[in-house]
């Protein structure tokens, strides 16, 4: 009972600290549960769905006639290490939605319903999966939810599927959304669309009749249970079957999962670091609060010791005083995180393409929270250890030693800018009191500055990210499909709006590298490749590999690799490592001369242009489209998938600022109130001398402004020093091996100024308590 009575009294007296700790731990718990749930559930769910749908350990998308595909299937089934192989009928289509034209067969039409491949259909408002989805009628289509963000397409909108150019199309109406665990993420260029079986047949026939072809299959290959590693299996398949001849692209299940989870993994990892930063912030605030509260309770504790309480009892009460709001914060945070996860899930479905279960992964959450609880308990235990030093005699003689103003380093007090000088003096005198606020500023500014650096790298339209995904820099590309059109004619149209700074030929293809299927970049001017190590591929027998491909194949610059293309295998020397995040970094680059060694003959390259006025690109594309229509193919270096990333970054930024505001508020309430309590007497004296409440509030706020200024500068410096390494670590998951950020003065100053302003405002508001400090409190009333 004695514990309960004292605990209740302590909590009542220091309810500000109680509420503050509760709020901090509550936010951390909600954020942590949400991040852990999304991270854990998304990877588990993604794998479950790929398996449930019937996709293999390796899936190859091939183009060809039904008979040819059957032969290939038999070859694959007969390959050593293959357990079984199944073929799913697909139709490669080009399509147009709300003006967004997707060409190059980057659309896959798949039959629905299909007894073998049971796709999940979403409820209309994307809140769950339909139990009894409606079958598609002719002319109807289910699309992945990323269509809403990529093409702003809604239910009822039309999708034009090209049969033979822009003039001959079939129009489908979007009936709803479905879950595509293989290509449903907005990060992926390939998009699956479900159509009625009769539509599938008719489209196939019509496209075959017009010579457009497009028929093919997704071949799901399952390895034998005790078979070799997938990478070996893939090599064997390429060597022993005709897979390469079908212009296929092949992905392992893990790679497909990587593509699909790229957004979740990057942002979960990023946010997890933020939550850890918040945890450190909470510990700093806790430390300050505990030390101050012990000093505040010094006399009482001395008296309690005098009447028989032991150090252990008093320490236990103090530990319980802080563990109570921590446990409550966690207890309330866990259930609150469930609807939060639901909301995040609903908002992110269009970007992730997955309806991630909102059930908390009990094991991970419990283990993580328990670990945090243990850390905090140990931390509080160590901080409350100084209760041991309190002796009844010292307490009765006047409490804690006057340790606050022993600083040797003092700031002069001058008449000019008196408030600022006083603030600096108070700050220097009691610097220990402000260390936690300073460190909190360093951490928060560091993280906000880091976010700003990522934003700056992304650019307003995501061009920074596109630069990382592109193998070469360009503003736009044109491929002539009609041989009557000359390159000169095209360039005349372009020059109508902007001078051309440079142009070169470029093409993306696929080829095998040491038996593995990769995306292949071919560039007329290999000087444009972004080299990280070694040099570019100057000669026709040289190739560039990304860091990831080099890692997969265990090769390095100077080694020789075998490239198989057009049925010909040639040796290439690796001249260097380059940066290109396309296909999550699974690509390599060669020169146009190198490509010519495969005897590819007449290949229609894209002409890539670098414009003098890149801002005119939109108008140029419009003019070219009007003049040449579908007789040319235009690559305007715009990827609608960047919208999702920019939106996610914006949402994360807003969330971080919101959490930062709450944290600064709590930090000020907790540290400020303790400082005000301690300085009550000095404040009364200042008032008696003629200082107004306003003036004292300003000096109080200025102390925090100064601390925040120092913290903000350090935060910016740390951010400049460590951002590239930290962010680079996460971006490697997306195949971006090199991240280099630069920040303008204003972009750098904004988070720093924001945090400083918040500290100042909250400190000024919190110093409102000074109003209640009366000079008359300096004396005992007679």
């Amino acid at each position: 009972m004695k514990y309960v009575t004292l605990l209740r009294a302590n909590i009542k007296r220091q309810k500000g600290s109680f509420i503050g700790v509760f709020v901090l731990i509550f936010i951390i718990t909600v954020a942590l549960c949400a991040v852990l749930t999304i991270w854990k559930n998304s990877s588990e769910y993604e794998e479950e769905q790929i398996d449930r749908l019937g996709f293999g350990d390796v899936t190859s998308w091939v183009v060809g006639e039904q008979d040819e595909i059957n032969v290939l299937l038999a070859q694959i089934e007969g390959t050593e290490g293959v357990g079984k192989a199944e073929s799913q009928e697909v139709l490669y289509i080009s399509y147009n939605v709300n003006g967004w034209e997707v060409t190059g067969g980057n659309g896959l039409a798949v039959k629905y319903p299909d007894t073998k491949y049971d796709y999940y259909i979403y409820k209309e408002n994307l809140t769950g999966i339909e139990d009894n989805p409606e079958n598609l009628q002719q002319g109807e289509m289910y699309v992945p939810p990323c269509f809403t963000t990529l093409y702003h397409a809604r239910i009822g909108d039309k999708v034009e599927v090209e049969i033979a150019g822009e003039e001959d199309v079939e129009v489908f109406t979007i009936k709803g959304y479905f879950e595509d665990p293989v290509a449903g993420s907005s990060m992926m260029g390939l998009k699956t669309m479900l159509i009625n079986g009769q539509d599938m047949e008719r489209l196939t026939k019509r496209m075959a009749d017009t010579g457009m072809g497009g028929y093919g299959a997704a071949i799901h290959i399952f390895k034998e249970e005790k078979g070799s590693a997938l990478i070996e299996l893939q090599k064997t398949l390429n060597e022993e079957t005709e897979l390469g001849r079908f212009g296929s692209f092949t992905y392992q299940k893990g790679t497909m999962m990587g593509f699909m989870l790229i957004l979740q993994n990057i942002f979960s990892g990023f946010f997890l670091v933020f939550v850890l930063v918040l945890l450190v912030v909470a510990m700093l605030v806790l430390s300050h609060s505990i030390v101050s509260s012990i000093e505040q309770d010094y006399v009482d504790m001395g008296i309690l010791k005098a009447v028989g309480f032991t150090k252990g009892m008093l320490q236990l009460i103090k530990i319980l005083q802080y563990m109570t709001p921590i446990l409550l914060g966690m207890g309330v945070g866990i259930p609150v995180s469930i609807p939060v996860i639901s909301v995040i899930n609903r908002i992110t479905v269009p970007a992730t393409g997955l309806m991630i279960p909102t059930v908390l992964p009990a094991d991970v959450v419990a283990e993580t929270l328990l670990l945090i609880l243990l850390i905090l308990t140990g931390f509080i235990f160590s901080k409350t250890a100084k209760i041991d030093k309190i002796t009844p005699i010292r307490a009765i003689r006047g409490g804690a030693e006057d340790i606050y103003f022993k600083s040797r380093f003092t700031m002069p007090v001058r008449k000019k800018a008196l408030h600022l000088h006083l603030a600096l003096r108070q700050l220097v005198s009691g610097k220990k009191q402000y260390i936690s606020a300073g460190l909190v500023t360093v951490l928060l500014v560091f993280f906000l500055s880091l976010t700003a650096r990522i934003d700056a790298w992304l650019g307003p339209d995501g061009e920074g990210m596109l630069r990382s995904f592109n193998a070469v820099p360009y503003d736009m590309g044109v491929r002539i499909l009609d041989r009557e059109i000359t390159k000169e004619e095209i360039e005349t149209v372009i020059r109508g709006d902007s001078e051309i700074e440079d142009h070169y030929e470029y093409l993306i293809g696929r080829a095998e590298l040491n038996g593995m299927n990769y995306m292949m970049n071919i560039c007329e001017n290999p000087e444009y490749y972004n080299i990280l190590e070694g040099r570019t591929c100057l000669y026709d027998n040289e190739a560039l590999l990304t860091e990831f491909v080099a890692g997969q194949l265990q090769v390095k610059p100077g080694d020789t690799v075998q490239v198989t293309c057009n049925g010909k295998t040639l040796d290439f020397i690796i001249s260097g490592i380059y940066q290109c995040a396309n296909d999550m970094g699974d690509n390599f680059g060669i020169s146009k001369e190198g490509f010519a060694r495969f005897g590819s003959g007449e290949t229609d390259f894209f002409a890539y242009y670098r414009l003098h006025e890149p801002e005119k690109k939109g108008k140029i594309v419009e003019n070219l489209t009007v003049v040449y229509g579908d007789r040319i193919q235009i690559d305007d270096n715009v990827w609608s998938g960047t919208d999702s990333i920019l939106a996610a970054m914006e949402a994360i930024g807003i969330l971080m600022y919101a959490v930062t505001v709450i944290f600064i508020f709590v930090v000020i309430i907790m540290t400020g109130s303790k400082i005000l309590y301690r300085e009550q007497s000095d404040l009364g004296i200042y008032k008696a001398l003629g200082f107004s409440t306003g003036a004292l509030r300003i000096t109080f706020a200025l102390r925090f402004t100064t601390v925040a200024l120092i913290g903000a500068v350090l935060g910016c410096v740390f951010s400049a020093a460590f951002t590239d390494r930290i962010v680079g670590f996460f971006l490697k998951m997306a195949g971006i091996s090199s991240f280099s950020s630069e920040l303008g003065i204003w972009q750098m100053a904004f988070p720093a100024l924001g945090v400083m302003m918040l500290f100042t405002l909250f400190a000024y508001a919190s110093a409102g308590k000074i109003r209640k400090v009366e000079p008359r409190n300096l004396i005992g009333r007679d």
């Binding site: 006057d402 606050y404 103003f405 007090v413 001058r414 008449k415 000019k416 008196l418 006083l422 003096r425 108070q426 005198s429 009691g430 007497s681 000095d682 009364g684 004296i685 200042y686 008032k687 008696a688 001398l689 003629g690 200082f691 107004s692 409440t693 306003g694 003036a695 009366e774 000079p775 008359r776 300096l778 004396i779 009333r781 007679d782």
Partner: protein, 253 residues
Amino acid sequence: MKQKILKAVDVAKSFANNGGQNHVLNMVNMEVYEGDFTVIMGSSGAGKSTLLYALSGMDKPTGGKVYYKDSEVTGLSEKKMALLRAKEFGFVFQQSHLVSNLTLFENVAVTGYLSESKTAKEVNEKALELLRKMNVEKAKDRLPMQVSGGEAQRAAIARAMINDPGILFADEPTGALNKRNTEEVLHLLTALNKEGQSILMVTHDMRAAIHGNRFLYIEDGKIIGEMTMQPYGEEEAKMREKQIDAWLSSMLW
């Protein structure tokens, strides 16, 4: 004819107490004259300090009015009151109440900086002069916790004098000092008064009271007696003590 520097008209102060009201000051009417060393005496709980705080603007009376040099100060805003305290009122507390993180010199000078009429240089010179006068010049760069109670209290007097206040309020200024420091502080106050400084002091210590020349006796929140004497002279200390003692006895102290 001496000028009235401070005047209280029907000043009342009450505090809420267990649902009722505790009337500490009951319609106090009094004046303080320029150049006087006025001493308010009374038994413990009579309302001496409460009256001092109400008169000096440290606390707001619940009734009545206070005039300083014929201007009402009771209704002044917090800001104007702070300005008045900075420029016109000096205050010496029972405890020195120096700002703990400022040196003795800074404690004095900071108050001077609030005055707009003096430059920083003038304030610094005056602060040094006052500290010299109060015999604490050697300790000027020390923090309050590094000096004795007497030195701190003398520095507090210097601080109270830095802006040449119209009136110096002193609330039991020797209450926390030993005998030697008490004597020193009282001599300083007397010396200031002799230079023309108006002083209003609350005390229940006879040794302190004899330094005054006008005495007010407060009982149950009312001024019930008044006595005047010639200004203090050291040689007549014993005689003054007897005279005041007799007066207090007549007040049933």
